[in-house]
Subunit: 362 residues, 4 copies
């Protein structure tokens, strides 16, 4: 469908998904964002998606998100307007929006730790308005957007905003997955599956995935898991130890964010192994250092830096990585409330990533 000519409201207003306090969301009219700093870009959103974190926000779990905030930190779009100091893009360029805003100048950015950028980090759909809208303002556009080749599918690219770099950086890279390793991934939700897909880039010998949900385990198997373990009987540790002839696993990736799943990781890790935490935790965990002090293990935490986005983009572009496999549902952007309903009942709805497309203004 052709984009309508500029006619009054259409050029200044837009629709957006707005957080209205715990439990409340609305698809409402909002003014379009405008350039605030010379390094900003305004992006017309063509594809976006919902993250598990958005559900946490809606529960009121994140005090940094206040009522009135437009949610969303993932997406693909087209440059609509540029600040005078954006050097790398032109109006009309197709771009991938990173969930992490990076100034490119601070000491954290200079060492590749964009997640802790002193004036950026994860701010989209959190401290500033996000991507679940027709338009979004992206600060530090030069270093927070990526040019998208025409051949790359929008849906696939949207998986590079957050979910795939998160699985890769927090899980696979931090877990130092190597050819021949035995890897266990605890949790077969979208982020666990993202770890599963990207772990295969390093050719482990085995990838065991653990979840309570049989359907997700089936999906995991279809995405490359060599063994699946249903943990609903509380015997996941025993099963994994048996699978490894009591040696334990080289890498345990925690992709849930609760003490129980963290416990599985510390119970199955082999001497010399790596526990890579991906899950967002709300409570402390008991770390069994009285046993593990002599185990030569490495435990890592990380907020995704999206430093691997350019590399993932090359892999998607060359056809080596099929990022679309994570998408289970597709909706018009205007149907986003329905999409949220589906995503909130992910197990029942057999939902992985739910993609929203804004075809009305293309």
């Amino acid at each position: 469908m052709k984009r309508p000519a500029n006619d009054g409201d259409n050029t200044t207003g837009m629709k957006a998904l707005v957080y209205q306090g715990p439990g409340c969301r609305a698809w409402e009219d909002r003014p379009r964002p405008t350039i605030i700093q010379a390094t900003d870009a305004i992006v017309r959103v063509t594809t976006t998606t919902i993250c598990g974190t958005d559900l946490h926000i809606l529960k009121g779990d994140l005090p940094t998100v206040t009522s009135g905030r437009i949610l969303g930190h993932e997406g693909v779009g087209v440059i609509e307007e540029l600040g005078t100091n954006v050097l790398s893009f032109h109006k009309g360029d197709k771009v991938l929006i990173s969930c992490i805003t990076s100034c490119g100048r601070c000491s954290f950015c200079r060492k590749g730790m964009y997640s802790h950028c002193s004036t950026g980090g994860w701010i989209l759909g959190n401290q500033i308005d996000g991507t679940q809208a027709e338009y979004v303002r992206i600060p530090y556009a030069d270093t927070s957007l990526y040019a998208l080749p025409a051949e790359v599918d929008d849906e696939a690219a949207t998986m590079l905003s957050d979910i795939l770099p998160t699985g890769l950086e927090c899980g696979v890279v931090n877990g130092q997955v190597k050819p021949g390793d035995i890897v266990a991934i605890i949790g077969a939700g979208p982020v666990g599956l993202a770890a599963l897909l990207t772990a295969q880039l390093y050719s482990p010998a085995e990838i065991v995935i653990v979840d309570l949900d049989g359907h997700r385990l089936e999906v995991a198997r279809s995405l490359g898991a060599t063994k699946v373990v249903n943990s609903s009987d509380g015997k996941a540790v025993d099963r994994i130890m048996a699978l490894t002839y009591d040696a334990g696993v080289d890498v345990a990736i925690e992709a849930v964010g609760i003490p129980t799943t963290f416990d599985i990781c510390q119970s199955i890790i082999a001497p010399g192994g790596r526990i890579a935490n991906v899950g967002v935790h709300g409570k402390p965990v008991e770390f069994h250092i009285e046993r593990l002090w002599s185990y030569n293990i490495t435990l890592t935490t990380r907020l995704v830096d999206t430093v691997t986005t350019p590399m993932l983009l090359k892999l998607v572009h060359s056809g080596r990585l099929d990022a679309k496999k994570l998408v289970s549902h597709r909706f018009e952007l205007s149907e986003i409330l329905k999409a949220y309903d589906i995503f909130e009942n992910a197990a029942k709805e057999r939902a992985l990533k739910v993609v929203l497309k804004n075809t009305s203004i293309m």
Copy 2:
């Protein structure tokens, strides 16, 4: 003093420090060890020392150590006898005894993780008789002993059996200490001081050391700490955060082994920082993953592998590392019970490493 001629008992008996159950130790007559396997060596011990772990054993904390065991896993000596398959040494060679026995063949040894050698690891003075004796049997001599150049002082070399590789591998290497880093070491006992000495090999900008004991902090300052923090008022965290302008430290080395000191580490670590655990823990710790999940930190545990022993030996040999600085007291081997008394009251006696020399049979 010249070694006496072979006369009966002298060739078959020896004196040794024997664990006799919780709280009990004795300096008693024992038969000399003999070659059991072709890869064994019998070493006449000329210098040994006491480890903090020996005190734990004496308290009965280590179930692997049974009554009747000769203690000790550190020392220097002279090859007295060799199994037929020891290829690297000759009778009369001066050798450094590693605290870790390594077969050199198993998959752990082949990847440099000697601590988890499938038939070795830390067994000396634990599962087999140790070095606090006139003679000791060393299994897998080719890969568990190091030739000692004549110029290297015995006392200095004894510090390479365990304490310096432990500080270096578990603390400094695992903590990835780099030039310009701010390093905090929690605990100024021998192992904390070993971390302090070896951290300087990598030129951090600052080394802050924390302890309850003013004397140890003074020693630490003389050994290269740039800042010292007395934690007896419970305000160590506040002080370190103030010293770093609230940025936290790049590396926190836990060199005590209790929840309180682990807590200091997790409270002062900067985003992107490394917590390297050296301490032997008897209880789990509460890990504040609800705060640290997004901190991009790395937490490591390790039983020393002694893979750095050859490197440390080069540094001691070339004069770049003054390992003797860790020695506070010296005794004849026959005075070992007295040495234990001193070492058990380390704070009061201002004891660091207590060296035992066997001059009677040299």
Copy 3:
């Protein structure tokens, strides 16, 4: 076929492929090898193969190989006899023979550089008799043989003696192949194809392979090359630069061993790239440091260490790596002279690896 009962000659004699001076080889009777050192094993060879290096030896190019030497440094077999100090194997065990003999004790072995073992390294079929025989003596058996699971195919395993670890270690690991990289492999002979197979373990975006032979390029394509370049017109550099939009490649793997192919590597390497030499060179090369001094490149050389053999074995065992793809021809061991003829005319015969099976004594 059942192995004949011990009857005189059968227990002391064997057949072997013997180098008899430049240009001469014979399949002749030789005494069976016997245990010389307690760390030796005698292996009954069930599968072996011919290496390009064997052809060099036959030309008289290697002064270390003297007339009368049994050739061969690759193979799979069964333990026939063990020295008293071999701890890891039993008679009858199926084993993979590494082309590199490693004592496991010297400083080179202790840092994983088995190729430079002070009493081992590449000695099989070079300084001592090799594997192209019914029996072979393997020194330092504990650290030079690998236990072979029953499920692993002999042919596949034989590819792990030399060719696959060489392609992987000298080419892929030294070239630091990473996900998303553009890799060029110069030479599509067996070692170039081994680099091609193992490069895919790290998921590069593109693998361009260069050769003069159209058939080999076809094979390369079927083994995973994404682009092939026939260099017979002397325009390989231009083509690769065009393929990379003049950016050059991230990794250039030299798998031939002559100045011309080395030149291609240094002409196509991107700033920050790695040139990994695998080829055995007989002449110096001109290195264009007047251009490359500012290119931030890394150039590596390496004799295979076979440190990756255990990892490759896991990948073959788990089905992730199909090592048999490198085998083009199969013969009885007794037909080895014919196999040499084929292998010497590899291009014409479309030969890759030529496998010899000793079924007569199984």
Copy 4:
């Protein structure tokens, strides 16, 4: 001395050292630079220095440098004026000028390879006017300048513009200098001495330095070389091999830039060693790959990226690194022609780094 009030010419003119074609330089009047892009800064130069590269330029060796160019790519100064998009600095801030201009946005900058920044790199005093002037325009100021703490001495800081990061990154970091290593540095000019100073940050056991000039070798000894070798008799290789008991060195740093010194490096490198090229070469070298193919060596080239500048600044600030040791002569900026005369006769004048101070406008 107080800075004069703004009075006509003083605010628009300045003095600068200008290249006027091969062999010609002049200290002449030039207009002050002005902001061209919003990311620029104008810096009042308070300290600068002369690089060996400047001498090459004066010989006409660098075609990128055209007549009329103001030379110089090192220095310290004070922010005089800022483009509207410089976010990290304020007028009056004391800053260190990096010899490498980095946009912070391109793919090379994002991976820390600032030397190959697509619109920056080494352009100062090369493709744009440089620092040997009263004022200089610095593009991409946010990512090409470093805030200088008041306590850091200007002279010391000036050594961080180029010479120390060059010795460190191209020589020491690329050479992977580790504790216990034997390091050889070929060339005791300023950049060799910079490698010498920074190599010590990683505690090698020995640092052997080679030069033709006895005085420079004396200086090297005073700066930490443990052995010095005068190569004027052509026997440097023999001497170094003798010093290492024919084992060769772990790291050879080429700090001259001619085939003879490159040859020394490839002749003395041990198996497993690293050759790190720092020198700027004008001719190809013969690389003895016919011998080194099996040596497991790594050879690197690099144009300094100045990624280590923040780290070096911390070390200078904390007193761990005495960067001023490289300064041999000091002049007023207005005496720069005299300074060039001295620096051109470095051996005779016993000159290392020659510092120019602009006290007239402080």
